[in-house]
Each structure stands twice: as structure tokens, then as C-alpha cells.
Symmetry: C2
Subunit: 174 residues, 2 copies
């Protein structure tokens, strides 16, 4: 149940319409939990019926912009969720499956694929770094800032890991 909580977080940062949310997802929360506008609208509807968020007064109808804000119950729900305990979700990495498959039926075409992935991860790393420079140029600040920096660092380090691993793999398959 992550998407609703992601949306609550985003709405607390700034009340928004569905479309604004979608755009902001694309360049922040979505890095760790992507969502399309369809998913977001559906979830906004559910959160509203659940009484966790509300549209700020305006005659609501299809096609008309609707701005949502988080209610007290929503904030409480999110606070609870932060402290909940939940196991890390299992890794699902098709590329590793393909490596294993290649060990059985041959690795034809695999090198190219590894190279493609390498390019994608490099691009992602570059994007994270530019965000880092833009948003966190100097040392630690408030707790909120430190948390956000930690998330970003997870991103850069994760991408760095893949870059290193893929480089090694391509090298070894030479």
C-alpha cells in the first residue's frame, strides 16, 4: 500500500491537482515509486472516499481542475505508516534471470543488452547528480533536509553500483 502514502506525502508538501501531482511524481517521488496519471486519479478518488484528503471547495465535475489537500486523518495515517514495520520487498530483477538463462542457452545478444542498461543507469546517475547540485549544494540542514538527502544518496549510490557491476560484467563477457 505505498502509492496512497506517496500521494499523501506529495500533497502535504504542496496541495495539488491530479495533473500537478503527476508532474511532480515524474521528477521526485516517482524515482522510487513511479505512477501514471490514471493510477493517481484512481487513488485520489479512494483517498477522498476514505476521508483522508478533500478537494478544496469548487463545483466538482469531470474535466474541471480539482485541488486536493490532506485532512487531519490523512496526516495521522501517514505518521502511523512511517513507523510501521514492513520487510524489505523481494528483489525482482529480470536481468539477473537473463544472465542465468544465458548460462544455459548461450549469451547471444546479452552483451548489447548489458550495454544498453549501462547507458540508462549512467543517464539516471547524471540526473540524480544534477538534482543534488541544484537542491543540496551545501552540508546538512534540518532533519527534513537530511532525510531527503539520504534518499537522493541512495539513488546515486544504487546507480553507481549498477554501473560498476555492468562494466565488470561486460568486461568479463568480453
Amino acid at each position: 500500500m505505498s502509492l496512497p502514502h506517496a500521494i499523501l506525502t506529495a500533497l502535504l508538501e504542496k496541495p495539488s491537482s491530479g495533473l500537478e501531482l503527476t508532474r511532480r511524481f515524474d521528477k521526485s517521488i516517482g524515482y522510487f515509486w513511479p505512477a501514471t496519471h490514471q493510477q493517481i486519479y484512481r487513488e485520489l478518488g479512494r483517498l477522498e472516499s476514505a476521508g483522508l484528503i478533500a478537494a478544496v471547495p469548487q463545483p466538482p465535475s469531470r474535466g474541471r481542475r480539482k485541488e486536493y489537500e490532506v485532512l487531519a486523518a490523512g496526516t495521522a495515517e501517514l505518521r502511523d505508516w512511517v513507523g510501521e514495520s514492513q520487510d524489505p520487498r523481494p528483489i525482482r530483477e529480470p536481468l539477473m534471470l537473463r544472465m542465468r538463462a544465458a548460462a544455459v542457452v548461450g549469451s547471444r545478444g546479452l552483451r548489447e543488452e548489458l550495454a544498453r542498461h549501462l547507458a540508462v543507469h549512467r543517464a539516471q546517475l547524471a540526473e540524480y547528480r544534477s538534482i543534488e547540485e541544484r537542491d543540496f549544494p551545501d552540508g546538512a540542514g534540518s532533519e527534513a533536509e537530511r532525510l531527503q538527502r539520504l534518499v537522493l544518496r541512495a539513488g546515486t549510490e544504487l546507480e553507481s553500483f549498477w554501473i560498476a557491476w555492468l562494466t565488470g560484467a561486460i568486461d568479463e563477457l568480453g
Copy 2:
């Protein structure tokens, strides 16, 4: 469409019944693509109807053990799949969402959660290391062996990354 290919791979390594497959998944392929026995049976059924695998002759019926092997079409399918190009799947990491949520509503309970995750990742790393010692004690061998070693290395390095990151995060949240 990863599960069917994971199953094809496992069946090529060794023809098996559904239950055997389930057990083998739990300690090898399942590290990167977990599956329950229910999923596996369902997929075996589909692969059979698709003509990619076949049960070795035996009166088939419910409750009676059924051994599957991969047909030529199945091997061909798997070979194609290895060379297919497919973007890395987006990361979905609820823990990062919780960090961001914590930046907004406070981090109560988060430290404990990070510590729990740390323990899980440490245990997983230990498991990978013991497999490494058991199965790959010495340097590189055949291509197949090199591929499997690379997969295992991805596992150990990924866990190491998380351990390092979590340690840093706990440290910084003091």
C-alpha cells in the same frame, strides 16, 4: 514476462516436478525472482498448453507427481528472450517513500525500521557469501560458471550497498 522464463531456465538445468521447482526456486533463482508454488503450478500449466514444456509420460491427475521437461520450442523461446531488449524495470522501494514521508510528518519509529532492514540485509549477505564459498571456491571457469558468478556478485554487492547505506542513515539520524 519473467516467471515463465525463469521456470524454463530451471527446468533446463534439471527436469523437475512443480514441488521440486518450488524448492529450488527458494534457494537460487528465487533470490532474484521469488515465486510461490501456486504461481509455479499455474505457470507450468500455461507453458504446457503453449507447447513449450511437456510432462514426461505418466497418467496425469491431481495429486499425482508430474515431471516436466523443456521441449525444443521452449529452448528456442528462452534463447530469444535472452537477446531481447527490455528497459530496466523502475525501482519501487517503499523504504525511500517512508524516508520522504518522515521528512514531512516526522521520523517517529523510522530508526527501528532501518535497524530491522539492516539486520535482514546482513543475513542475506551472509547467505550469499556461503553460497559463494560452497559453489565457486576458485577462479573463473566456463562461460556458464562466469555468468552465475556474476549474478551472485550482483547479489552480494547489492546487499553490501544497502548495509552501507542503512548504516550511514542510522548514524545520521542519531
